[in-house]
């Protein structure tokens, strides 16, 4: 079985320009006076949060070639961390609840990663899924941890120290947008750093990399932990935005949706993960509005993507633009 190939590791100019235009459009959106802005603001905020989540998974799935079917566990753990840290009568400072939540997710990823990165391919898929399910049941079965009902986050984190009121929808929107851009730029840097090159090498040919002397276990564990921490960042934002956490946040569907987002956009370049997250959420909302049998359409849509566009929207866009060159990673192999 070949390892998953990345799409467009180096983005063409045209696509970079599209990304900048997209970011500017997102930044300008709250300024446009249209009906129901509040609703769309919230929807876009959720999409941006999910885009961060999808990018964190892309580091494993698209870059390192590790398909995790349990990534939602870390998303959920950080969300729960915020819920536990926030008292019922006052908001909790952003400056330490955010690092604490991300750290919780990172530690969980380190522990689980220590067990799972020694497995490969299909084992990795099954084992990550099983461990995420373990975390799910830990929260689901214990009343002290909220049980099956979940818990409320009574206040959004407090960032008034720097003049940021996160209870305000627009402020929270911009806060999320800044983090989205920051995470994207950070992950692009990681991708072309020596560390990122090793991760790419693990995807392309792990045996060869071991043969030239890289201890790939540690690299994979580091990638797993970093991805878990960033998923935690997304989960923290999600809990702050929705004001509610429940075990479904770490469920099997959430993990599978993240995989779907990354595939839908195009793997291994992070831009695809963002595009995929927006597109996936849009399609999901669209189907849910259309009919109560939305699952049938969603399933059909997923099948269609797998059959028609396994390289994602970016890959499809590239072929349509007539730039059907061979994959860059294959050329540089």
């Amino acid at each position: 079985m070949s390892s998953p190939t990345a799409t467009l590791e180096r983005l063409p100019r045209s696509m970079q320009a599209m990304l900048v235009i997209g970011a500017v459009a997102l930044a300008a959106f709250p300024l446009v006076p249209i009906e129901g802005t509040d609703f769309y603001l919230q929807m876009l905020t959720q999409m941006m949060i999910l885009a961060i989540f999808a990018m964190s998974l892309d580091l494993l799935q698209g870059v390192t070639g590790l398909v995790s079917l349990g990534h939602a566990a870390f998303f959920g753990i950080a969300g729960y961390a915020l819920a536990f840290l926030t008292p019922q009568d006052a908001p909790m400072a952003l400056w330490w609840s955010l690092p604490a939540a991300v750290l919780a997710a990172a530690v969980a990823a380190l522990v689980i990663g220590f067990l799972v990165v020694r497995t490969k391919g299909i084992y990795f898929i099954m084992v990550t899924m099983a461990f995420a399910q373990m975390v799910y049941f830990l929260f689901f079965d214990n009343k002290a941890l909220g049980g099956s009902d979940g818990i409320y986050v009574y206040f959004r984190p407090d960032a008034t120290a720097v003049g940021l009121d996160l209870e305000n929808k627009t402020s929270f929107y911009y806060f999320t947008l800044v983090l989205l851009v920051a995470v994207y730029l950070f992950l692009r840097r990681v991708l072309f750093s020596p560390f990122g090159r090793v991760l790419t090498g693990i995807r392309v040919n792990e045996h060869r990399l071991r043969a030239v002397g890289y201890g790939t276990f540690n690299y994979k564990l580091a990638a797993f932990t970093l991805a878990g921490a960033l998923a935690g960042l997304a989960g923290y934002l999600w809990a702050a935005q929705t004001g509610f956490v429940n075990p479904e946040l770490m469920g099997f569907h959430m993990s599978a949706h993240a995989i779907m987002m990354v595939i839908l956009g195009g793997m291994g370049n992070f831009a695809g993960a963002i595009v995929g997250a927006f597109a996936f959420e849009y399609v999901m909302h669209f189907f849910k509005d259309l009919t109560k049998h939305w699952q049938l359409l969603m399933g059909g849509f997923i099948l269609l993507v797998v059959i028609v566009a396994p390289r994602g929207l970016l890959g499809l866009g590239e072929s349509l633009l007539g730039r059907g060159r061979k994959d860059t990673t294959e050329a540089s192999e």
Binding site: V116, I122, V127, A130, A256, I302, L303
Partner: protein, 287 residues
């Protein structure tokens, strides 16, 4: 825990383990021979349970329902392999994960359209609806014993099929080296169809015989699917013997975990998996 109680839990764990084996055997065979990871395997279990409910109501007999349901499930598996899965044997695992995840959505919705979202019960057949008294207060339902018996018979049948028949020899050859088997003139496509239909059939039978004791409800496939993954990981992917040992082990740990340490019962099985992974990352019986 006195002896009678212990015996009951032991029989329960055996019954649960054997049921899991029925599912995990198909999953591990399909992976071992075709290299496909199938998230929709739990849906076949659900399908079986719903078929049992539907046909028991129509035909007024669980046994007849099982016969008709098995035939339908096998035909369905064959069709699914022919129409969809065979195109995915050489695709990336990632594509297989998504394909089968999409199928879960479709199966759930189709089930909802045809059979609704209600929880249903299936009556235990009159003949088996009695219990063996163990002490003054404790007794054990005969139906559960019969369930275990059926699973054991099917497991023996599966063993004989794979190890003692010409078809089984071809299946083993196909798992060992696909191209070589094909060049020896064996119709490997046919073998794949048979294996897939066999896996779907076993999962559906498990769902059908479990229906009277576990009720029939939406989403019943997904919880059992994850347990099957655990079983396959512990046993070693592709190994039917490993699946049997692991399924019995999981049954024991889960059942006695619930009795002895209820606080962490949900996690006990996963801890077992973690321990196995630490020492044997490729499972107890590497294929």
């Amino acid at each position: 825990m006195d002896f009678a109680n212990f015996l009951i839990q032991l029989l329960n764990s055996l019954q649960y383990g054997l049921l899991l084996f029925m599912l995990a055997a198909g999953l591990t065979l399909i992976f071992g021979i075709m290299g496909v990871v199938n998230l929709a395997h739990g849906s076949f279990y659900m399908l079986g349970a719903y078929l049992a409910w539907f046909f028991t109501a129509q035909l007024d007999s669980l046994l007849l329902a099982i016969v008709v349901g098995t035939a339908l499930a096998v035909a369905f598996g064959w069709l699914l392999e022919w129409a969809l899965f065979r195109f995915f044997y050489h695709r990336d695992h990632l594509d297989q994960v998504l394909l089968t995840f999409g199928l879960i959505y479709i199966f759930e919705e189709v089930r909802s359209i045809f059979w609704g979202d209600d929880v249903h019960a299936v009556q235990v057949p009159e003949l088996l609806n009695w219990s063996i008294p163990l002490t003054d207060t404790l007794s054990y339902p005969v139906y559960r014993l019969v369930m275990s018996g059926v699973c054991i018979l099917l497991a023996i049948g599966l063993y004989l099929l794979i190890n003692r028949t010409r078809l089984g020899m071809k299946i083993r050859a196909g798992a060992f080296n696909r191209e070589m088997t094909e060049s020896l003139g064996i119709n490997i496509r046919l073998i794949h169809g048979v294996v897939f239909a066999l896996g779907v059939g076993l999962a559906a039978i498990a769902g059908m015989i479990a229906a009277p004791i576990s009720s029939v409800y939406p989403g019943m496939g997904s919880s059992v699917l994850i347990m099957c993954f655990v079983v396959v990981v512990i046993g070693g992917i592709g190994s039917v013997r490993g699946a049997l040992v692991a399924a019995l082990l999981v049954g024991l740990v889960d059942t006695f975990g619930k009795v002895l340490v209820p606080q962490i019962a949900g996690m006990a099985v996963y801890m077992l998996m973690a321990i196995v992974l630490l020492y044997k990352p490729e499972g107890l019986f590497k294929h």
